[in-house]
């Protein structure tokens, strides 16, 4: 197990190194840099001013030098300065992380707490009206884009109540915090919940057909015991995998949701930073996200062993 852990950690480092190279060079391949954008916005370009600004920002140096400056800084925890705001990149990124983390956490919680029970119900009640109803809900969850759902929620709340949930950066109470995050989390988590529901349902259906479930029923175990203790425990593995993968993909949905609900999180910030070609923000933020995703994958793999005693990692 220890050797396996060491090998996985080494592979994680190799993956992160590869990601750093890809991020850095992809960003440089995209046409235009911050200086081009600033001058494009100004509607003129003075070659001398442009050269001065490129020198000031260090983007006139050879790419390999720029890469070394960045990656060595990243490893030291020195994220450099945002080209746009001229503030330390870390100072710009850090306050936004908890906002997105809370939103993502709540969305995943929403996804699991809605998706798993409804998936179980749908499987247990297979072929009933309830099953069909839940399947329609899950299908709509997969079909509705989160930006559309978000706008629908906002429009409906304004039209019906004359009110609109708007982001409160400093909630004073739990209730305020919940009011701030619940609606956008539901909007972004609806798709994940639908996916979780579908996976839970199909996984449960497969397990419910197994011999040991029949045996459990024959021994007189209650429905609840059969469904939740025997079946769900064995059906949960693919669900965990999906939730883990969804955690990684959530950033895509969050970009849109943060824009629609005007939440100043890292997801929207990342898109803005890409628009400005604010390399220090984009590179460091993507690396941080990569670290989270790679770590999440690692944790999911480890959770397999916790949930399924048959899985034991060895050399």
């Amino acid at each position: 197990m220890f050797a396996y852990l060491v090998r996985r950690l080494f592979l994680m480092l190799v993956t992160l190194f590869g990601i750093s190279v890809v991020i850095f060079f992809l960003l440089r391949i995209v046409p235009g840099n911050i200086v081009d954008i600033l001058f494009a916005a100004a509607g003129y370009v003075d070659p001398a001013d442009k050269a001065n600004l490129e020198k000031e920002l260090g983007i006139d140096q050879p790419l390999i030098v720029q890469y070394w400056h960045w990656i060595s800084g990243f490893l030291r925890g020195d994220f450099g300065y945002s080209y746009v705001s001229e503030k330390p990149a870390l100072q710009e990124i850090l306050p936004r992380i908890p906002i997105t983390a809370r939103l993502a956490g709540l969305a995943l919680l929403f996804s699991a707490s809605i998706g798993i029970p409804l998936g179980v119900i749908s499987a247990v009640k297979q072929g009933t009206r309830l099953d069909y109803g839940l399947r329609v809900v899950s299908l709509s969850g997969l079909s509705l884009p989160s930006f559309w759902l978000g706008l629908l929620i906002l429009t409906a709340s304004v039209a019906m109540f004359g009110q609109m949930p708007i982001f409160n950066p400093n909630p004073q109470t739990w209730l305020e915090a919940f009011a701030t995050y619940a609606v956008p989390a539901a909007a972004v988590g609806f798709r994940s919940a639908a996916l979780t529901m579908r996976i839970t349902r199909s996984s449960m259906l497969e397990v419910l057909r197994q011999d040991y479930i029949r045996t459990a029923r024959a021994k007189g175990a209650s429905d609840a015991a059969v469904n939740y203790q025997h079946a769900l425990k064995n059906a949960i593995l693919p669900v965990i995998t999906v939730i883990g993968i969804e955690a990684a993909f959530l950033i895509g949905g969050l970009i849109v949701t943060e824009t629609v609900f005007n939440i100043p999180g890292v997801a929207r910030f990342l898109v803005e930073a890409i628009r400005w070609r604010d390399y220090p923000i984009v590179q460091n933020l993507v690396m941080l996200i990569a670290v989270v995703v790679v770590s999440a994958n690692f944790i999911v793999d480890m959770l397999y062993a916790v949930f399924d005693p048959r899985i034991r990692y060895t050399d």
Binding site: V30, P31, G32, N33, D36, I37, L38, F39, A40, A41, A42, G43, Y44, V45, D46, D49, N52, L53, S82, V84, S85, E86, K87, E92, L151, L154, T155, S157, V158, A159, G162, Q163, M164, I166, P169, T259, V260, F261, N262, P264, R268, F269, E272, R275, W276, R277
Partner: protein, 532 residues
């Protein structure tokens, strides 16, 4: 006797009415004006900015030497008022403009304002300072200024190479705040210090901009507001919904399109909304350095094929203006009158007749029903660029031109235009001051960096200078119309239309004036107040 009594009653009533009006209109102190902001500006430095995303939130931090009257919708030479300058005077030969400065004015950090600050600011703008602006988009405004000379602490003179009466208009623009000498341009980008009614508090990129009342403002009793807060909301639908739901007191100025204005009026019927021109023209930039548009016939044919009314009807439900380079009257001061405009090829009301003429020109150039000209119409990936580009492509079909839309990301737009890597471009040109010097020299003079098409006509250059030196407004107008007509006939940068846009605020917001011929000059907000 009866008439005396009647007179007395009328007099008493009118006094009562007047006093009631005064009481109801008495500005109240306090409150934070909440406005959504459409975009996160690159920084807080107005001198380096080239978008009203910077002007709107930060204009209140500063003062100019002179300023357009903030409560007259139409900026004009007559509406220029003193601000940091108490008065101004021209020398007899109109080559020296002297300002007497206000005394006792302090910067937000407590340091005194003097003539040295004026010199520093204009040295920065003229590129004479040791310190440099990262960008200096309006350097051309001061090309006729030889030097700015302080005469003691409270007088300053602008020495000109030749008379340029429009200098005062440039100085009155929201783009011309006076900066302090003791704060570097870099600091002004992140933490601007001004003398204005509001102090800078905080700017969080993509999040918010906060200003607070300057308690030591030199205009005693102002501002009325305790502060102004801008919440940055890039999604227009979300922003408008938040305004409708009462989360904001005001929309971002001139951010509401004409179709969206209907939504607001239906959902928030009490809101006050106005529609004004933005002095932003939608135009075509033509690459006349390469075939096929190096052929003047094809350029003229293209300009003659335009059905400007169709653009205005489709995009603005009829609420936009057709004109030449200068914003058309009545809102524009310098635009050509309708009868003169109609004499320019392509501006006549009979679109079919214009297009028949255009077809003849195309046939002369070797194109016709059996041989269409294929062109790419490049434009930025923004709705206000893409939508008219699509209509343009549709209209060009009528004269044997098959257009293909080439959407370009903002980052690549200007480099692409600069290296002449385009055939036709659908472009927007914002004029920050409704003055011919600003428009002509920036966009059409030989060698200007914003003259994207490199249009260069030495004869017209002479006329540029002639109108620029003319002190008689009526004579100057005649010259400006002549120039504008020639620019359209030369297809220098065919103007399609001048946009209009809406601004809305809640009924309790008082004292807001949206400028009718500029989107850049009306955001001091020192006497805006809230009746609640």
């Amino acid at each position: 006797m009866r008439s005396v009594w009647a007179l007395a009653v009328v007099a008493a009533l009118s006094v009562l009415t007047a006093s009631t009006t005064t009481l109801a209109g008495e500005p109240k102190q306090g409150g934070i004006l909440r406005i959504y902001h459409r975009d996160s500006p690159a920084n807080a430095s107005i001198l380096e900015g080239a978008t009203y995303s910077v002007n709107v939130p930060f204009m209140g931090v500063f003062n100019n030497l002179v300023i357009y009257d903030q409560h007259k919708a139409q900026n004009s030479p007559d509406s220029i008022k003193p601000e940091l300058a108490e008065s101004w005077s021209w020398s007899g030969d109109n080559k020296k403009l002297t300002f007497k400065l206000r005394q006792g004015v302090k910067w937000h950090d407590g340091k005194p304002f003097t003539s040295a600050d004026v010199k520093c600011s204009f040295d920065l703008l003229m590129g004479k300072s040791q310190q440099k602006l990262r960008q200096n988009p309006r350097k051309t405004w001061y090309e006729q200024v030889n030097d700015v000379t302080p005469n003691g602490d409270f007088e300053v003179s602008f020495d000109l190479k030749r008379p340029q009466p429009s200098l005062l208009a440039m100085l009155a623009s929201g783009y011309t705040p006076v900066y302090p000498c003791h704060v570097s341009p870099a600091e002004m980008r992140t933490h601007p210090i001004g003398t204005g009614p509001f102090k800078f508090v905080e700017f969080k990129a993509n999040e918010s901009i906060k200003l607070a009342r300057n308690p030591d403002y030199w205009r005693k009793g102002l501002p009325h507001l305790d502060g102004v807060e801008y919440t940055i909301i890039t999604n227009r639908s979300t922003a408008i919904l938040a305004f409708v739901a009462g989360k904001f007191d005001m929309t971002f100025p001139t951010h509401i399109t004409i179709p969206l204005l209907k939504d607001i009026k239906s959902q928030a019927p009490n809101a006050t909304c106005v529609v004004e021109p933005t002095n932003v023209s939608t135009n075509i930039i033509v690459n006349s350095t390469a075939p096929p548009f190096d052929n003047i016939d094809i350029r003229r044919a293209m300009a003659m094929a335009l059905d400007r009314k169709a653009f205005v009807d489709i995009l603005f439900e009829g609420q936009a203006d057709v004109g030449g380079t200068m914003l058309p009257p009545p809102q524009g001061i310098w635009g050509m009158p309708k009868d003169k405009l109609a004499t320019i090829p392509g501006y006549g009301p009979d679109v079919n007749a214009n297009r028949e003429e255009a077809k003849k020109l195309m046939q002369k150039a070797g194109y016709g029903p059996d041989k269409h000209l294929a062109v790419k119409v490049s434009t930025r990936n923004l709705a206000e660029y893409r939508d008219p580009a699509v209509i343009l492509i549709d209209q060009l079909k009528s004269i044997y031109i098959d257009g293909e839309l080439d959407v370009v990301e903002t980052a690549n737009w200007f480099p692409k235009v600069a290296r002449k890597d385009y055939m036709l471009g659908l472009n927007l040109t914002g004029n920050s001051v409704d003055d011919p010097d600003q428009s002509f020299y920036e966009n059409y003079s030989c060698g200007s960096e914003r003259n994207y098409t490199n249009y260069c006509n030495k004869e017209i250059e002479k006329l540029f200078d002639a109108q620029s030196q003319e002190t008689d407004v009526n004579k100057r107008k005649q010259l400006v119309w002549e120039i504008d007509k020639k620019l359209q006939e030369d297809v220098a940068r065919p103007i399609i239309f001048h946009a209009r846009a809406g601004s809305c605020w809640q009924p309790y917001v008082k004292g807001v004036t949206i400028m009718s011929n500029s989107s850049y000059n009306g955001f001091r907000y020192e006497d805006v107040w809230m009746d609640k």
